[in-house]
């Protein structure tokens, strides 16, 4: 019940400051930058726009799995209901075909549609607001080269009062800093570029930075957060809780190839980020992003993912476990469905991307990502070492999956309390 109370309380706060917020909104509504004529796109602009569209990772959200790119329809399950992304192909009726440059820029910078309606901040305009007008227009130019597809928006399913769009104006009044990115002169241009790639375009913080009660991003930058059943891990430079101990090579491989041996394999939402966005990074942007990530202040939040040297997994060979007094039910699930690819020593059998050793997923005490990967598997991908994706194992019963998770965590020597069938049922609620 704790969260209910929290949310209700924050709503009261919002309601109490309505007048102030309205004023604030009005003050913000006149930005001279958003009133320029449309420019004629050059092929160079379109090419730049395509690259920026990838960096801004538009596609991952604006398509359903396996669906037509940029036509929207993807569901976002939030605590207050379900939102659907929209069609951003240049279809005049159901897409953005009639939008002017100004319209597009206003949406990115302020979260407002041409008809004045506020967009929900699941669309990351609080990050995109930092994108320069030039880059925004480049993105639009590229989107306008796509094949227009008729794809009407799905109706959002939000609880009252969250289904009242006017409320967002108030929220924006509080939490939207309508300001473009300004380089910090104290830092190198490389780090500044990395900041822009990470925060303005890549909107990493939208997932990795914890939110406050009012659902805005807190100042605990990149300290890790959960959404839609997944945990976006701590990516601060903390050596134990974050990625401070990862070598440059590991970090680069993870970002560009989605897999760093002994560190992690990007799956779920992060897998999509690599698939649609990060793997396209040019070398200098990749290096800039890496440099920027190193500057994130360490925060000891979350959990430590050290390989436990004394675990059963470490003692096993690739093909056989060590003897135990009792065989847990979860071990039987593992040997039926998991061992063929992951190996008893977690080393990965056929594809090294299937290695478990060192993955934060198996040490996370909440088991959130572990559950989601078991339930949904992974996507097929052209990334190296992923010729065959992991199938979803949602047909296992809740009890069996709980057994499996509990076994795996005991097997690898990670912490976390035992989960039950109910936790698996909860994890199933998220439809990706």
């Amino acid at each position: 019940m704790k969260s209910f109370t929290k949310i209700t309380a924050s709503l009261c706060v919002v309601a109490a400051v309505v007048p102030i917020a309205v004023v604030a909104k009005n003050m913000l509504s006149r930005d001279p930058e958003i009133s320029a004529p449309d420019i004629a796109p050059s092929s160079e602009l379109i090419a730049r726009g395509e690259y920026l569209t990838r960096l801004a990772d538009c596609q991952a959200c604006h398509q359903v799995k396996g669906g037509e790119p940029f036509t929207g329809g993807r569901a976002f399950q939030l605590p207050f209901g379900t939102l659907y992304s929209t069609n951003i192909t240049p279809d005049p009726e159901t897409g953005i075909g009639t939008w002017s440059d100004d319209d597009f820029v206003r949406a990115l910078h302020r979260g407002v549609r041409p008809n004045g309606e506020n967009l929900y901040p699941a669309f990351p305009y609080t990050s995109y607001t930092a994108i320069s007008r030039d880059d925004a227009v480049a993105i639009k130019s590229y989107l306008f080269t796509l094949k227009p597809v008729q794809a009407p928006a799905k109706k959002n399913e939000l609880l009252f009062p969250f289904n009242q769009r006017w409320g967002l104006a108030l929220w924006n009044g509080f939490f939207l800093t309508d300001r473009r990115f300004k380089p910090d002169p104290a830092l190198s241009s490389k780090v500044n570029r990395g900041d822009y790639v990470a925060n303005a375009l890549g909107h990493c913080g939208e997932c990795h930075t914890p939110r406050t009660l009012a659902f805005n991003l807190s100042d605990r930058i990149y300290a890790g957060a959960s959404l839609e059943g997944w945990n976006a891990y701590n990516i601060t430079s903390h050596k134990e809780y974050g990625i401070g101990a990862w070598s440059d090579e590991e970090l680069k491989r993870y970002l560009l190839e989605g897999h760093a041996p002994g560190r992690g394999t990007a799956t779920g939402p992060m897998g999509e980020v690599v698939e649609y966005s990060l793997r396209h990074l040019k070398a200098d942007d990749a290096s800039a992003l890496l440099s920027y990530l190193r500057t994130i202040p360490p925060r000891p939040e979350g959990f430590v993912a050290n390989v436990k040297e004394s675990s059963m997994m470490t003692a096993a060979s690739g093909s056989l476990p060590v003897a135990t007094d009792v065989i847990e039910p979860g071990q039987r699930v593992f040997e039926r469905n998991c061992a063929s690819c992951h190996g008893w020593n977690g080393g990965g059998v056929q594809q090294k991307t299937a290695a478990l050793k060192g993955l934060r997923t198996i040490y996370d005490p909440s088991a959130a990502n572990l559950l989601q990967v078991i339930l949904h598997g992974t996507e097929s991908s052209a990334l190296p070492g992923r010729s065959t994706p992991m199938p979803p194992f949602a047909s296992l019963s809740d009890g069996e999956i709980a057994d499996l998770v509990n076994f795996m965590r005991r097997y690898v020597g990670s912490g976390g309390k035992k989960i039950g069938a109910g936790d698996v049922a909860d994890a199933r609620e998220y439809q990706h």
Partner: protein, 174 residues
Amino acid sequence: MRSTFTLNINDERRTVTAPPRMPMLWVLRDLLALTGTKYGCGIAQCGACTVHLDGKALRSCVLPVGDVGDGHITTIEAVGRTDNGEKVQRAWMEIEVAQCGYCQPGQIMAAVALLNERPAPADFEIDAAMSGNLCRCGTYPRIREAIKLAATGKTDAMRTLVIGPSADSEVKEP
């Protein structure tokens, strides 16, 4: 897209031209006509495609040819040349494990790999090594028994009589 690979298969050098992502299963079956290795699921859930890479059991349906390198691939066609392979195949015949037989090459390859690592496997090890291999005919009890027979030379299971000129004139009870 396609590259040329020189592979070590059953102690022979075989050269194939294939996309690096092409699974070994199809390299063996469709490019090299080694059809003993079977297709069952394509997602490493049935084990019908099990081969050895340097003596270890792998699911060839998810093993890209580009990842094999200099490793030694052994298939059902040649596993009988190894001691454990010969022992396992003999045990498989003695207590007649196979029914339809389609999954058996994979079962045998998994069993041989198990014996390569554990000459006398315990039941839990048989479970651990063999539970990834499906058999729709349900020959599991005999697979377990045949592995034990191969490992120890002993079994309580019914032994088959081999058909031959001498076998039926003086039939002895098994």
